[in-house]
Amino acid sequence: MSAGTPGSTQSDPSKPGPEPASETGGLDARVTVRRGQFVLAVDVQVARGETVAVLGRSGAGKSTLLRTLAGLLPLDEGRITLAGQVLDDPTQHRFVPSERRPVGVVFQDYLLFPHLRARDNVAFGVRARLGQGRRHARERADSWLERFGIGELGDRRPGALSGGQSQRVALARALATEPRLLLLDEPLAALDTTTRGEVRAFLRTVLPTLSAPVLIVTHDPTDAEVLADRTIAFEGGHVVDTAA
């Protein structure tokens, strides 16, 4: 999560090489999931510091991919490795459940806990994943909100936040757990056009500063273009195109 110069530092580790991405802190996933007729079979690699967009229409299997990476859905075949750690491998009967994966997720409609204030939403993960006490977790949460320019909103409940503010709280909540992989599910889909531009600009400044690999799932080619270093296009459960 060290701040770096966007553009220069991130391109180095993402250059294709013989070394698997996971050895150097990246994500290496060979994913096969069967759901009746539908088969999702894709390989995804994201290097440390790299942002990759997974682009496809709804039903293309993007969300299924995201759920396997987050540990909410086990693989039928394949293997997920993150920073050298095997997270899922059916042949080895290995499956690290979601709560023990160092993976942060920003969900499509944020899923901020409605009964908790913004601060406590962010502190939730700090307490649960990092095992911090309540006071310390709240301080951490406040500093994350501060960093994202919404320090004054800590006392608000999600119902009293705008779409753009909710997005920032959701990102703060995911990053506060110090994940080694960040997943963003349609980060702009729930926003109106004006807010979209604002949040897109915000993500564009934040994502390059992260050292963890970032995977964005989107149906919008513009979002993929603007936010990601590389795009993988999905259709019917298979990769149809990759573009730098």
Binding site: E99, L111, F113, H115, G125, A128, R129
Partner: protein, 291 residues
């Protein structure tokens, strides 16, 4: 009727609906009006401050609260198991759990006696090993009330769990929360209104419980004579006292209804009214006949 409905404006209800509807409303309200009209208002302060009445009221409030607490502690986990896990016989278990809702309470009392009575399959062990005797004790009252009232909580909470957005639990898991933390800090707070509604229904049902209580715990003033039992007892000797006791129960139930605010659970109000009318002599009658 379809033709009539099409011609009518929204404000004019067809007579075929409002006439029986009005009859139903009158039918539900009339007994309560009768209670208020016949109430011995002048002697009321003396009647309800009598020692035996205070004793019965306190016992009722205590046992109903204890039964609600027991239902919360054991009923919420049961509701969670029914809603969130898959195991063989789950549908059957769900059906059996809700059985006390439709079972005549007196049958529940007999069943409790056979299970937890001194010679019952479990009760015998309790007596032999721990020296615990449940029938005809205050604890027995709580057990009888819990048996009859807990399904209200389980049904209410399970329904809410089934319709709750499971993705919040996914989100909690991705934030590092294990199943227990997720249950405590996400699932339960999300269904809190249903827990409150279920607890209120449960409490009201326990407060009005008659058949299972008198069968399993008997009718001993001070230890097992709850308000509904006291009403029934008084009706045979002193009608005025029975009316006064009924008024007290009615007042308690109305207070609960007001405190609950209809917006939380509009559907629950109907149920609550049905339960609230149970302690009145009219509703107790047939049960007493059975016991």
């Amino acid at each position: 009727m379809g033709r009539t409905a099409r011609r009518e404006t929204r404000r004019r209800a067809p007579w075929a609906l409002w006439v029986p509807g009005a009859v139903a409303a009158l039918f539900l309200l009339l007994p309560l009006v009768g209670l208020l009209v016949r109430a011995p208002w002048s002697g009321l302060p003396d009647l309800i401050t009598k020692h035996s009445v205070r004793e019965a009221l306190l016992l009722s409030l205590e046992t109903a609260t204890a039964a609600t607490a027991l239902s919360l502690v054991f009923g919420i986990p049961l509701a969670w198991l029914l809603a969130r896990t898959r195991f063989p016989g789950r549908s059957l278990l769900r059906a059996l759990v809700t059985l006390p809702l439709v079972l005549p309470p007196v049958v529940g009392g007999v069943a409790l006696l056979l299970a937890l009575g001194r010679r019952g399959i479990v009760g015998q062990r309790l007596d032999d090993w721990f020296g615990i005797t449940l029938p005809f004790t205050t604890a027995g009252v709580v057990i009888a009330q819990t048996f009859v009232a807990m399904p209200f909580l389980v049904v209410s909470v399970e329904g809410a769990l089934n319709s709750a957005d499971r993705r919040f639990e996914d989100a909690a898991a991705t934030l590092g929360a294990g199943p227990w933390t997720t249950f405590r800090r996400v699932t339960v707070p999300l269904v809190a209104p249903a827990v409150a509604a279920g607890a209120a229904l449960c409490w009201a049902r326990a407060l009005g419980e008659f058949g299972a209580t008198i069968t399993f715990a008997g009718n001993f003033p001070g230890t097992t004579t709850t308000m509904p039992l006291a009403v029934y007892l008084a009706l045979e000797t002193d009608t005025d006292a029975a009316i006064a006791l009924s008024l007290v129960l009615l007042a308690v139930c109305v207070a609960v209804l007001v405190a609950l605010r209809a917006r939380w659970f509009p559907g629950a109000r109907r149920l609550l009214r049905g339960r609230a009318s149970r302690p009145t002599p009219v509703a107790v009658g047939p049960e007493g006949g059975l016991g």
